[in-house]
């Protein structure tokens, strides 16, 4: 079978083991349409670990804490590698922070955070399956309820 060649990056970030169906969600989270360097996005690749996976290579970009936390919410099993001079200098599994502030919208329409300018805040009630609880209205949300701001 002919293999698709994806060029290696000199410097940047590789996000691997993304569940295939959220690959483009991660593209959206990272606003990759505005990155000027090389970006490779692959989805539906075979993975022994998760069945079908996605992988994203981003040249010249290192992720900030909020970006990492957002990816952890939609792809908690993903791995993040930092590339310098074509070599992996750091490889990390993503972890969901205990408190998620500012970037998730509460799904409860009657929650005060949907009516006043209040920074949202959620506490992780359960890691697997993911369940987060609104600090304000106390409603618990599962991963499919999560809408990023």
């Amino acid at each position: 079978m002919k293999q698709l060649k994806v060029s290696a990056i000199r410097e940047g970030t590789v996000i691997d083991h993304i569940p295939s169906d959220v690959t483009f969600k991660v593209v959206e989270i990272l606003k990759l349409n505005s990155v000027k360097e090389i970006i490779s996005v692959a989805a539906n690749l075979d993975s022994k670990k998760i069945g079908k996976k996605g992988i994203i290579k981003i040249g010249g970009k290192f992720l900030g804490e909020e970006e990492v936390n957002k990816i952890a919410l939609v792809a908690p099993a993903a791995t993040l590698s930092i590339i310098k001079d074509f070599k992996v200098v750091e490889k990390n599994k993503l972890t969901i922070p205990k408190t998620i502030e500012g970037f998730v919208k509460c799904f409860n329409p009657n929650c005060i955070t949907n009516h006043e300018e209040i920074k949202t805040k959620f506490h992780v009630a359960n890691q697997k399956p993911l369940k987060i609880r609104c600090h304000y209205c106390e409603r618990a949300m599962a991963s499919n309820d999560i809408v990023l701001k």
């Binding site: 009657n110 600090h135 618990a140």
Partner: protein
């Protein structure tokens, strides 16, 4: 155990020991009133949504302890109408009062208030979320009429979806090994997040659609109003508004210790012919709000330990 300065926002944050302590303090204040305990203290009662009973109950509790009350019962007279945020309102009011009691239609509003306030905040109801003082008075009532709270059969009937009193009561009862029965129309069932919490705590419960299925087993029948204001769709409200009405006829073969409770106001969930039976206890239940709120005010203001 210290309550001084503590916010009372959610029943879920009170331990079993703390709940029992509040009930004991309430009992002691009811039997031995302390008319000057809160002399010089000011309560700000901020009612962004009408609730005459809860407001009067807090005001009465504060007055009976010698304290003063300021506040409003109608948000249209406050700066909220001018577009002021809740946080700003609270930051101002905390400079005028020693304790804030707040009722607000939005869920999470009490938490917002407690996060910005340096004086203790007591949640008097935030939307369909929490109403911890109602739950404490419900527990106080159950203890008073049954002698204890543990190991009772407690049935809740009506709007279990939007009715926050039943959510909080179910969570509070999870400390006391009670058997719970939830009776509601299919569309107003107890929310799954509450049931999941009860599962986690190994609480025994079952769901029903008919009162008759469980009334014979119940020690407490907790009836709730189906609240029009909580329904996003009024057509849905019309379908269920008169589904459950407790009548005298239904009480023929119930346990002799059965007591019917209701957070009030009732519309027609309990027929008035029940009022004169030995099972009716909802008016006495409302009166129990005074000692409970006296206890909470005294504790968070550090006047009692």
């Amino acid at each position: 155990m210290s309550f001084k300065g503590k916010d009372i926002i959610s029943i879920n944050e009170l331990s079993k020991a703390e709940i029992i302590h509040i009930l004991e303090v309430a009992k002691s204040l009811e039997s031995r009133p302390k008319p000057n305990l809160l002399n010089g203290k000011v309560l700000a009662a901020l009612f962004f949504e009408p609730s005459t009973r809860t407001r009067l109950s807090f005001e009465s509790a504060m007055s009976k302890l010698g304290g003063k009350v300021v506040g409003f019962a109608d948000p249209s007279v406050s700066s909220v109408k001018k577009g002021e945020t809740l946080s700003d309102t609270i930051k101002i009011v905390e400079r005028y009062a020693d304790v804030i009691v707040m009722r607000h239609p939005l869920e999470g509003s009490a938490r917002v208030a407690s996060d910005v306030s340096d004086v203790p905040v007591i949640n008097a109801g935030d939307g369909a979320n929490q109403h911890p003082t109602q739950t404490l008075l419900d527990l106080y009532t159950i203890k008073k009429i049954q002698g204890h709270i543990s190991n009772l059969n407690i049935a809740m009937v009506g709007d279990l979806k939007y009715g926050r009193t039943t959510h909080s009561l179910a969570m509070a009862l999870s400390h006391f090994n009670c058997r719970l029965f939830f009776i509601s129309p299919e569309q107003l069932r107890m929310p799954s997040y509450i049931l999941e919490e009860l599962d986690k705590k190994n609480v025994e419960y079952s769901e029903h659609t008919q009162i008759e299925e469980v009334i014979k087993n119940a020690d407490i029948l907790y009836s709730t109003r189906i609240q029009k204001e909580r329904f996003p769709d009024l057509a849905e409200y019309e379908k269920v508004r008169n589904v459950y009405i407790i009548t005298k006829d239904m009480l023929k073969s119930v346990k002799s210790n059965l007591k019917i409770l209701h957070p009030l106001p009732r519309v027609n969930e309990i027929s008035t012919d029940v009022d004169s039976t030995k099972y009716a206890y909802y008016f006495e239940q409302a009166a129990n709000g005074i000692p409970i709120r006296q206890a909470l005010l005294s504790l968070v203001l550090g006047k009692l330990k």
